[in-house]
Symmetry: C2
Subunit: 396 residues, 2 copies
């Protein structure tokens, strides 16, 4: 009854989804306050008050037929200009509305970008661990995902190995920084090195290689860490952005693509992407949310909310003797499993009502992902369980 | 620079889009009140007041983090249940939330449905004239569109020809009633006949054939005409619905699929469609608009707004001697061109500042489409031009 291409998806029940269902069962059995669910990346920092106020103001001020009506497939021009100017102020770029294409979140943005540029059989290089949903996006256009390794201490790209993987089928390199699942942010030097390799390979192979930067976690960077703006380092970059995390509204599906003027045949790519936005069925990003963004373009959630969690969880796990990279961004921590089979570790943790996602769900067995977009209490109260886990594995 | 599959799209500048740009030029030159633009199907009946009030109430009453947060890929259960119950009250169906899958408008709903069930090389039968965008949706999944003819007087399907086109590659029959571009509504008898043919062919060919009913214009039916609810006549039906026209909010991208329990392996198809909704990049329908729909489930725009236009335009054109089927639904009229080449007719009309879309943009040369979702004044004031056009062609 269903299309052949969908069958593998339906066979593999996602590890995260399975976790979620188990979590529900456990919450019903033990009470929600006694279940420490680190499985889901569902942002829970409060939605900034400006969001609600802006929507109400817009509804009161604007003509409803225009407000809720069709606009260009790329989105409202004033909204796109407001975003471009905000990026320019913050990152020293030189965008205008012609570089910004509003999308139904970053997931849709990635699909629009891939629909625009990827041919069947062409390769998309990703750095493992990575968000496995990318496999499905690439599969939508009959491309092939090629996994490049990262250093297992830092989760930075292994650049030597990466360069060797680039060949005459490579069309896209897809990076995600701040990273899901590791929380790592690539330094300016790393971005520069990736750009250098791509420039060199473009010349050597005589073909265009796009760098797609998936940036739903851009605003979630802690302390003084900077997230380099990738278009400044490599011309053929497309940025996919989402407000899901920066404004805590993942259900609203609002984001954008940046297609810089420096990109080869930029106007053609932009126009094609606008059409792709239409024909994949989105047509345009939701109009009221677009208008809200224009008024909230520099607003973001309270970062301290996640930062407090980050510090508590990292310090707590370190004290227990667990091994992990201190995340600099996003709201994930990627913990080394004390045993080779991280599924065993997850099962053991479940005995203490702690839910984590196995690293194999991110193409990186031997690790687990903890999403710390939870209440602070969840983290504090989970520590007793983690200590007992540490004892079980003789870590302290 | 762009994917091969996108190249034909970028080569063919859409006739409707070309019209739109010409319209802009003409409005600048002659003043907007002197341009009679019947090219765009952009709903302009006022958005019902309940929409604004509901959104404000929801923002004031609901917890923002849950309101704007992730939900199941199929949508909020309470919203889906409200829609199911509304359909049951109005059409005597027996749906519940498990049959309703919220989508980013009907365009996205069609893509979700096709992604779910269509294999490369399989055929989708459509009745010409039809919305050519269907070609792109089918092409997204490497299917093939097969055009079935309609009676050129009534635009009802030529059922004998239709039956002959069904073969062992047929996977989907896609209908659109009320119809874009003709405004025709299929009678209960026609739906029953289509269903009978499909039942017979399913048995004969030993394969499942889906009937997809694209219904963005369902609520726009004038007078006492009923739009039969297709799931009642054929089990393997999927309905794609949109609120774009019924609530005048095409920019918001909110609609749903109905996957009835009677459909073969309904649960599998529903679950696959939910996953398809995620992996094509939509993830879910915009959350605030979903919640609005639950409160506005029985609200619709003032039909008299369009009906008044319909009558004025139809009567006016008839008086001029033009030939067209009186539309019973949607906001389109499909006029027979007085000369074989309707592009010539469109060019002649432009001399009177009248913009219409050639029928070839709907796979039906020799006709033109007029979208009467305009102001009433536009229709009244256009009549002088139409009279002169009629004189030019010796129609009166």
């Amino acid at each position: 009854m269903i299309a052949d291409k969908m069958k593998p998806l339906m066979g593999n029940n996602s590890a995260i989804r399975t976790m979620f269902e188990e979590g529900d069962k456990m919450r019903a059995e033990y009470g929600p306050e006694n279940v420490y669910d680190f499985s889901l990346g569902n942002p829970d920092a409060p939605v900034p008050a400006e969001v609600k106020q802006s929507i109400i103001d817009i509804l009161n001020e604007e003509d409803p037929t225009a407000l809720h009506g069709y606009m260009s497939n790329a989105g409202f021009e004033d909204v796109r200009e407001a975003i471009a100017q905000s990026l320019n102020r913050r990152f020293g770029t030189a965008f205008d509305h012609g570089n910004i294409l509003m999308t139904v979140g970053a997931a849709s943005g990635l699909n629009v970008a891939l629909k625009t540029i990827l041919n069947p059989g062409e390769e998309v290089i990703v750095f493992a661990p990575y968000f496995l949903e990318y496999n499905w996006y690439v599969n939508n256009y009959d491309g092939k995902v090629v996994q490049a390794p990262t250093d297992q201490e830092t989760f930075y790209p292994d650049l030597e190995a990466f360069e060797k993987l680039i060949g005459d089928k490579t069309r896209v390199v897809l990076i995600n920084t701040p990273n899901n699942p590791t929380g790592v942010i690539y330094s300016e030097e790393t971005i520069r090195q990736i750009a250098d390799i791509l420039e060199r390979k473009q010349k050597e192979l005589g073909r265009t290689i796009f760098l797609i930067s998936d940036e739903p976690y851009r605003e979630l960077a802690y302390g003084d860490v900077e997230v380099p703006y990738v278009t400044k380092y490599y011309d053929n970059t497309i940025v996919a952005y989402s407000y899901s995390k920066s404004l805590s509204l993942p259900g609203e599906r609002i984001g954008y693509l940046v297609i810089p003027s420096e990109l080869e045949e930029s106007q053609l790519v932009f126009d094609t992407a606008s059409n792709a936005n239409r024909i994949i069925g989105c047509v345009n990003a939701p109009s009221l949310q677009q208008k809200m963004i224009a008024r909230c373009v520099d607003v973001k959630v309270d970062l301290d909310y996640y930062d407090k969690n980050r510090t508590a969880l990292y310090e707590g796990l370190k004290d227990c003797g667990f091994d992990c990279v201190k995340p600099e961004g996003a709201f994930y921590m990627f913990l080394k499993s004390p045993v080779a089979d991280e599924n065993e570790f997850c099962a053991e943790a479940k005995k203490h009502n702690i839910l984590m996602v196995p690293g194999s769900a991110f193409a990186c067995p031997g690790y687990v992902r903890l999403a710390y977009c939870t209440s602070y209490d969840t983290i504090v109260n989970s520590m007793d369980g983690f200590r007992r886990l540490a004892d079980h594995y003789g870590l302290r």
